[in-house]
């Protein structure tokens, strides 16, 4: 049986393997080599400078800033996203009617191009005629309606709120799919014992969902550190430094915007740090979050 099938292993794997090797694995390995050079990308003058790009990054104030902003995004954005998603899962979990509709609506931002969402949020936060400030004015909160949501003081948190709105849809749907697998008998038994919704959530849903939640945390770490498209587009022009993420900094270093920079080697070294940080955090959270799966 298996020998009969073994004949197809190579021809079936080859197309995917070749494309993957040429356009993914090879560039990924080459990135380490590029990061050891000083290079503008256009000339042949690629000079080997050893680990100087990596040591420079350790002293780079902008990199520190962007790194802290990314950590804040993953940490605060993660707490908000996961609390809201679990809250919605608890609310929507048991009900059958209309569940599919809620699920689809809450998820829908995830199928819309980030540029369109960025345009929408840019308008919501627009200081002069934006939806938020005009709503606040209509409610009589004239003081609050003067706030510049996209100003340097608030822009980081304003955008974080919008990003949470997008991702809550994804994680709610993820947790709901996990919650659907919990046998209904558990809840029925708990109800007979007189447990309320809150109690059932913390004693049944949360522990039995833990595996999905911990996997979700791993997903969020990857998603959070790779944020680029929404942040890059949301201000409509050059993104202010308050909302730079690590990938945005890499793109700006490599290709510049407005003024060309073309520091290909240095940009790649920063991207390499990103890989190391993400891999480290993912490995750590896999190790500490994953308990033995609960059998049921």
């Amino acid at each position: 049986m298996n020998t009969w099938l073994k004949r197809i292993v190579v021809p079936f794997l080859a197309p995917a393997a070749i494309l993957y090797l040429v356009f993914f694995v090879f560039p990924a390995v080459q990135s380490l080599w590029v990061s050891l050079h000083n290079w503008s990308g256009f000339t042949r003058d690629m000079t080997f400078i050893g680990v100087r790009n990596f040591t420079e990054a350790l002293k780079d104030k902008t990199f520190h800033r962007v790194l802290m902003q990314s950590l804040g995004l993953v940490f605060f954005g993660g707490i908000l996203t996961f609390c809201l998603s679990l809250f919605f899962t608890g609310l929507l979990g048991g009900k059958g009617r209309g569940k599919g509709f809620f699920r689809a609506v809450i998820f829908s931002p995830n199928v819309i191009t980030m540029v369109a969402l960025a345009t929408l949020w840019g308008f919501i936060y627009n200081p002069r005629f934006g939806l938020l400030n005009s709503l606040l004015r209509a409610l009589g909160l004239t003081r609050l309606a003067e706030v510049s949501w996209m100003g340097p003081d608030l822009v980081y948190w304003s955008i974080l709120a919008a990003v949470v709105w997008i991702y809550v849809g994804f994680y709610t749907v993820l947790f709901m799919a996990g919650a659907d697998k919990i046998p209904i008998a558990f809840y029925e038994a708990a109800k007979l014992e007189g447990a309320g919704n809150l109690r059932m959530f913390f004693t049944i849903t949360f522990p039995l969902l833990w595996d999905v939640i911990s996997m979700g945390i791993v997903y969020w770490i990857i998603d959070g550190f790779m944020q680029f498209e929404f942040y890059y587009a949301v201000s409509g022009s050059f993104p202010p430094i308050q909302i730079w993420t690590i990938p945005i900094y890499v793109v700006i270093l490599a290709f510049g915007k407005r003024t060309p920079i073309y520091r290909m080697g240095y940009a790649t070294a920063i991207a390499f740090y990103l890989l190391v940080i993400v891999t480290l955090l993912v490995t750590l959270s896999r190790k500490f979050l994953r308990r033995t799966a609960v059998e049921y």
Binding site: M1, W4, L5, K6, I8, V9, F12, L13, P15, A16, L19, Y20, V22, F23, F24, P27, A28, V34, F88, L91, G100, F102, A104, V105, I106, F107, S108, P109, N110, V111, I112, T113, M114, V115, A116, T119, L120, L131, S134, V173, L174, A177, G178, G194, V212, M215, G216, V218, I222, M226, G236, S237, P247, V250, V251, A254, A271, L274, V278, T279
Partner: protein, 294 residues
Amino acid sequence: MERNLETRESAGGLLARRLAAAVPSGVANLFLALWIAFTLFTIAWVLISSFKTNRELFESVWSLPRGLNVQSYVKAWRISKMGNYFLNSLLLITFSTAGIVFVAAPAAYVLARVAFRGRQLVTNIFVSGMSIPQVLLLVPVFMLLRRFLLLDNLIGVGLVYVAVNLPFTIFMLISFFITLPVELEEASAIDGASPVRTFLTVMLPLAGPGIITAFIINFIWNWKEYFWPLVLISSDSKKTVSLGLYGLQGSMQYSADWVGLFAGCVIVMLPTLLLFAVMSKRIISGMTIGALKG
């Protein structure tokens, strides 16, 4: 125990307890309802505003359009060239998505069902690509495509799309192929069919739903994304629709044509939203499959 307590309480106490239980869940449900309403509102608002004139929009952002002003759409489609970009995206994404599924399906089949030496290693190499930041590939891919003369070329973007989406697609399709019963191949072998024929006529149709899901999810993802075209495409005539919208949004600070921008948003949003409206269940289960099976 609790029941006994309840029966001993006075009617007023009982009412208070009931209220205390109902109010938080009422507030919670209200919050959920507001969240859902807000999400629906945002999409509807962009759609409605795109039929206004700029003047109407600035008079009141909440009002309904006086008439069905399609001028913004005509302008976005022709003058802002969203029509061109739409066609570019349609071609690029249809072909590259078909390409992804075309190479991922046989690979996933072999990885799911044939026990060969190195299977685990090959699977790991493919799947680990899911946690590699794509921005790491930026400079090397740029160099590579320049050497192949595929820079500023939609074929180049398409090849990158195939490569970067293989990890997820293979991972997802393995989970579909693995569920099919072993007897199918045994019966085929006894009938004297070749493995290739078995794959094409027996396994592929059975994995059909999974393959369609993989196609649609990749289509939506690549339709949405503009990172790779942003760094790989420089000529205006080769832009994809998401990148075109990004450009349109960037020119807003000079044109102040908000309704035109909203019309552009609707043009980009519509295909993926329609796909989602028709097959939301399938798309949701496909996109969340990784975390559930992982």
